[in-house]
């Protein structure tokens, strides 16, 4: 399934489009205007962008013009979803390089049908799935080079800066958590995620906004350790 970015200044439209696309199995991100969307595009690779035209600050045409000028975003498909039915808007959208044009109101079958049809011609790439939306994930920064995440349906995961040596991991983990991270299954988990740079970037942004104290984290880990995580990583106790 695809990763899709929705851009609209009307939250009710974003809610509706998101619900439909998530039900189809897509991974969906949302932005309230073009500038917010550009920030997201610095972090995530998208298969498709669905954008409104009339928005404050940076309208849909300005946004698409910027995206289409960036060769790195060449593969990303763009669809307009707008209430503008006039010929000038349709022509302008095509000139800017939009792949297709949808007229609001959003009708489920038309909306999803057009997107399905487009992906048959231009299939989405495979992305590592990013699950950063609450309530699925809680994460906290415990040291500038160690992060702890908790994904409810997976268990506890530790993300370690990929530049760290194993000895440094042990040293840091013992100084921060008063535990040594060296057991086999845990080490495996430790080293999987840091190589996923997309996830790492996304994670860092999230962490920057949600920094907690070490004390809280210790409590958090102990709590999780006693529940699901303990079952999955028994040596980490």
């Amino acid at each position: 399934m695809a990763r899709i970015l929705l851009i609209d200044d009307d939250q009710t439209v974003l809610d509706l489009e998101k619900l439909m696309l998530v039900e189809e199995g897509h991974e969906v991100m949302v932005a309230g205007d073009g500038l917010q969307a550009l920030e997201l595009l610095k972090l995530y690779e998208m298969d498709m962008i669905v954008v409104d035209i009339q928005m404050p600050r940076f309208n849909g045409f300005q946004f698409v013009n910027t995206v289409r000028s960036n060769p790195q975003l060449e593969y990303t498909s763009i669809a307009f979803s707008t209430g503008n039915k006039d010929k000038d808007s349709v022509v302008q959208a095509a000139k800017l390089g939009a792949d297709f044009y949808l007229i609001k109101p959003i009708i489920r079958e038309q909306f999803l049908g057009k997107i399905r049809e487009h992906f048959l011609v231009k299939p989405p790439k495979t992305h590592p799935r990013i699950e950063l939306q609450e309530p699925f994930l809680e994460e906290v920064k415990v040291h500038k080079r160690i992060y702890v995440s908790y994904i409810s349906d997976i268990g506890v995961e530790i993300l370690i800066d990929q530049d760290l040596e194993e000895g440094q991991v042990i040293e840091l983990s013992s100084s921060i958590f008063h535990e040594v991270f060296s057991a086999g299954p845990l080490l495996k988990v430790l080293w999987i995620k840091p190589h996923d740079t997309t996830l790492k970037k996304a994670f860092l942004v999230f962490v920057d906004r949600n920094v907690e104290t070490v004390r809280k984290i210790q409590g958090f880990i102990q709590r999780k350790n006693k529940s699901e995580a303990a079952l999955k990583y028994p040596k980490w106790r």
């Binding site: 009710t12 619900l19 009339q54 609001k104």
Partner: protein, 106 residues
């Protein structure tokens, strides 16, 4: 899809959208209050934008009549037709007062 039953405007909404409806209705009522204020102050650009938004969002949720009236507000604001604006906004008011939602697979 909607139908009038005496003083009631019955709207059939897809049950899959049920969890979104409270937020949606609050947003539409807020937009409507903004419309009334904009009409009072003759802010045609604001009216055009508010009408455009209502037109774009309501139909997708099944509230076709609200969407249509939103479109009328947008058009009337474009040509600064005060009478048509007042009429459309009055109809919207009646519509909001008599809305009844029923969740039904469409």
């Amino acid at each position: 899809m909607s139908e009038r039953k005496e003083k009631e405007v019955l709207v059939y909404v897809d049950p899959r959208l049920e969890k979104l409806i409270p937020k949606f209705m609050t947003a539409q009522k807020t937009q409507f209050e903004l419309m009334k204020a904009a009409l009072k102050n003759l802010k045609y650009e604001d009216l055009k934008l508010l009408g455009h938004r209502m037109k774009g969002s309501c139909g997708g949720y099944g509230f076709a009549l609200l969407g249509e009236l939103g479109g009328k507000v947008e058009k009337a604001a474009e040509v600064q037709d005060f009478e048509l604006l007042s009429d459309s906004i009055s109809k919207l008011e009646i519509c909001f007062e008599s809305l009844k939602i029923e969740y039904r697979k469409i």
